[in-house]
Structure formats: C-alpha cells, structure tokens
Point group: D2
Chain length 173, copies 4
C-alpha cells in the first residue's frame, strides 16, 4: 500500500490531506458508507470520539466514504446532508468512483473487504493495522497506544488518558 | 510505591501474587469494593474482559478489595459470594484491614482516593499509570498498548487486537 | 385529525394502508426521516421491535417518511436503500411532497413538529396520543397497554408480556 | 395468593406496607437479592425508575429482599449498606427468614422461582401478572398501562407518558 487516498472530493477540510504529508503523526482512516448501519452506529461515533480526544499533532482522523453499493443514492450531496445531521467534524475523503468497477479507487487499491474498515498508520507513514468490521474501543486503544508511543517525544498515551469519568465512585472522606 | 500489595487473603489463586515476581509483564490492579456501584457496573466487568483477552505472559489482572466503609458487611465471606455471583475469575487480594485506620493497608500505603481505582504497572514493575474512577476502554487500551510495547518481544498490542466484531458490516460480494 | 395518511408511495406492503380500514386495532405511526439520527438510532429500532412483538390483529406499525429538509437526497430510492440496510420490515408510507411547501402533506395536515414523531391511534381509530421526540419504552408500553385493553376481546397486554429475558437470574435449585 | 408480604423488617418507610391497604392503586413488588447480578443491574434500576415516574396515588413500588442463598452475608445490615450505595429510595420489605427452609416466608408462600421476580397487583388488589427474570420496559409498561387504566378516575397512562426525551430530534424551523 504505497498509494495515498484517491479522493474525488473532500469534506470538512479546506484542502485535501495526503498521508505522505502527515508523517510523524498517527493516522486513523475510517472507511464507511453513509447507509451502512454498522458505520453509522459504531465506527463513525468512535472516529468522532478519537477526533475530539487527541491533539492533531499526535493523531489525525480521516473518514473515507467508499461507496460500493447503492451508488445512485449515496452521492456527495447525500453525504453532506448525512455529515451535517450526524455532526461529523473530521475530514472526510470521498473515495473516487470508477467507471469500470463498482468499487471506488482507494477501496480497490487498498483491497478493502467492505465497510466499516479501519486502517491505522504509524508515525512512519506505514500501515500498521487494518481491520474489517467494528473494532472495540479497548483493542483500538491498545494499537493506538503502541503506535503513539513509537518515537514519540513524550509518553503521549499515558498523558492523554487523564480524563474524568462520569461513572459513580466511592470516595474516601 | 515500593511496597507490594499487603493482602490478608487471596481468592481465585492457589497462592499469593507478588508484583515483584511479575516483572516482565504488564500488571493491572483494579481496586474495588463489592458494594461500590461504579465497581460492580464498570470497573470489574472491564477487568474481567482484560483477564479474558490477554495471555498471562503479557498481562496479569489483579483485583484488590480495599474496604474503607461498611466494614462489617463487606467481609471475606460476603466477597466470596459476590465473586461467585458476578463470575469473577481473576485473582483477588483482600487488602489487609488495619485496627488503627478505616483504610486497609495497601490502600493507605498507595495513597488511593477511593474505589474504583486502577493502577497499571509496566514490564519493569514500576507504576506507570494510576486513575481514580472508571477509565473508559479507549483510554485504558491506549495506556496498555504503550506499556505492552515497551521491551516487548513482539508487537503484542497489534497482534492481540485481531478479534471479531459482532457489529453489522457491509461486505463486498 | 380526520384525514388519513396522504402517501405518494408505500414500501413493504402490497397495497396502501388506510387508518379507517384498521379500525379495531391499535395503530402506531412512526414519522421519521432516513437521515434523522434520532430516528435511525431510537425510534425506528423501537418501531421494528413493536412490529415483531405483536400479532397484526392487535397492533399495526406504520412508518411515515416525512421529509421536510434535504429533499434532494432523501428520495424514494434512497429510502429503499436505507430500509434494506436497516432491515426494516414494517409498512412505510412516503409522505406526499408538496410543491408549495417544504412540509409533506400528512406532516402538515397533522401539524407535526419534526422527526421522530409518534402517533398512537386507539381501536376506535381516534388519535389517542402524540409525541415529538423519542418516547422511551416504558412510557410507550404504558400507552399501548391502555389502548390495547380498551374493548379488547381479551387481556392483550398481559398475555403479550410473557416473554423470556436474557438478563441473568438467580434460580432456586 | 391471599397472603400479604411477610416481612421481618422494612427499609425506606416509617411503617410496614400492606397490600390490602393499597387497594385502589397498582402495586409493583420487585423481589430481589442484593448479590443477584440481574437484580442489581436490571430490575432494581427499573424499579427505581418506576418509583420516580409515578404519583404514589397511582402506583406503589415495593422491593422484597428474598434471600434464599448466601444467607450469612445478605443480612439486614448488608442490605442497608447496599441500599445506601445504590441510592434506592422505594420501600423495601425484608422477606422473613424461616428456620425450617432456605426460602424466606413470602417467597415460599408466593411460589417464587428465584430473583429477580416481578409481581404486579391491580387496583383491585389481585395479582395480575408475575414474571421470573427481568421484564423489559416495553412489556412492563404495557401491563402497567392496562392495569392503571382499569377503573382509573382518568386516563393515567396517557397523561403520565408526557415526558421529555434526551434523544436527538430534527425540528421544523
């Protein structure tokens, strides 16, 4: 996987992102279709949570709208409405449609099996992990923690983990 | 925190565990009280999930029953019934009660603020992370991924993450 | 509200349904938009659960796709793809678009405030309850139980409630 | 089931409750054990929700602590600590222990099969519905709606259902 994402259009970003330009950061690419239920209910909320939890210098979250079915209705305009209604704020690439295949260009080049799919790139820009289907938070966190730790200026994960919890506690008086 | 856990009794293990003997593995100590709601609903199920997900050579999960209130009813026998009903399978240390304090010995020595509390020790046996309250899966995973990666014989986290997901997917035919 | 639903098209039914022809049954009309997040995540799964739980002679569930925004992308074809991906099996009326208003005909005639909206009709065909937003299961069940009991040949609700539960139990040996 | 509850003690009420004195109201009796996981996680939170949602003149929620295992540790003092930690506010009867049986008196007289168990009494004081295991909100609501409607001075269920919902909506501007 030497290629970058091949996008026909980008949302939520003033200019296209290129993996090669993000060297030094961990990059999460979340491939989805707007009418894929597992995407809407699990992987996109998870991507949004990641996007909010991290400083951009450490981790960049990118959505990849890879339409391989229902092409006529999952158009860029439909995606824009979806992104608005679901309040998605991270950059989203529209995987380039191909006239000779039902699969869009990046999905085909990367050999994705469907949606949701998750691709994690290390700070060196190399694909470190790929998953078809939803990856639960614990396992995703583990891979990210490892990737963030590699060649990091400081212990990013441990620092980032310090967050408040809404669950009830028993406090010593 | 140079001391080991000071336990008056152990459950789910034929013999006491000592942190010093677990050098080379990541150790998760989950301090709880059986009648602490946040423990029963969040931190103990999470500890059980960790205990199931990992090979023992990589990660060891230890429960620490640190009773600092309602001492008369959170007895070892009550804990045994609780552990049975909640199907907890990981080793559990009963933090040693002290006659001169409401706090048990390990809780006091470690300066814990209440329950649930989470202590993560790296492969070097040093406390790497501590959290009072429930730590969500994503953040816990990140810290663990980083700790597991340090001096690991192989890329543990990435390997361990390969698990199936029950969430719905859209598969390319 | 004397009018029936004014639909331009129906899905999941060989022929249009009319409220007037459903006299004698309780009817649940769940107004939604396919790109309304609260609909996709809460009210439509609830409608599907109702559709599965009841005999058709007692209760009929009808979806009403009332598009009042993003008209260009929430087309009948897009809805068909959505219904397929979300595995919705109950009859769905497409609320008739109007050239002079952003609101479709039934939504306007019924004075709905948005989506999701729930309308419950008693066995007498009269609107008994209306709710804008998601109605939780307990409250929805209460209204349905009351409506089903009115003039019912038998105690429907009590009979229908006998279902198994997946939650853990403590059984007397 | 002609007998009333046979309790050795009551919590959260200045004096014992008797079903016979609650004629005219719907009564929900939720039998539980404090160390029964399905009770702690499902049936007791549901009972607490019912207790908060209804006016006492319409519906009375009663907990029944029916200990049939681990007797030595599920004592009244332990229950008090549990009730405090889980913030349970509804009246709770401690089912009377019996020297000749592991089952407490009410549990045996009522023929309960274990915990959680739910008994719903109509306004006429007659047992209308019984369920072993957790009963989901929709089905519980249906039975309650029917019971509340019987001989009610007004349409209780429909009136009670008017509550706000935290789920996202799409509002017509």
């Amino acid at each position: 996987m030497q290629h970058d994402m091949d996008a026909s259009e980008w949302l939520n970003t003033p200019e296209p992102l290129r993996l090669s330009a993000l060297r030094g950061r961990v990059v999460v690419v979340s491939a989805f279709q707007m009418l894929c239920r597992g995407c809407a209910e699990h992987s996109l909320p998870q991507a949004a949570k990641l996007h909010q939890a991290f400083a951009r210098e450490d981790l960049v979250v990118i959505g990849l709208h890879s339409v391989f079915e229902h092409h006529a209705v999952m158009t860029p305009d439909a995606l824009r409405a979806f992104v608005h209604e679901y309040r998605l704020g991270f950059p989203i690439a529209i995987d380039r449609p191909q006239s000779h295949s039902a699969l869009p260009a990046t999905m085909q080049a990367w050999g994705l099996r469907g949606t949701p799919s998750l691709m994690l790139f290390g700070r060196d820009g190399v694909l470190a992990y790929e998953h078809f289907g939803h990856l639960d938070d614990l396992r995703l966190g583990m891979v990210l923690g490892e990737l963030l730790a590699h060649s990091a200026p400081k212990a990013t994960a441990v620092a980032a983990a310090a967050a408040d919890s809404p669950a009830p506690v028993c406090r010593i008086n």
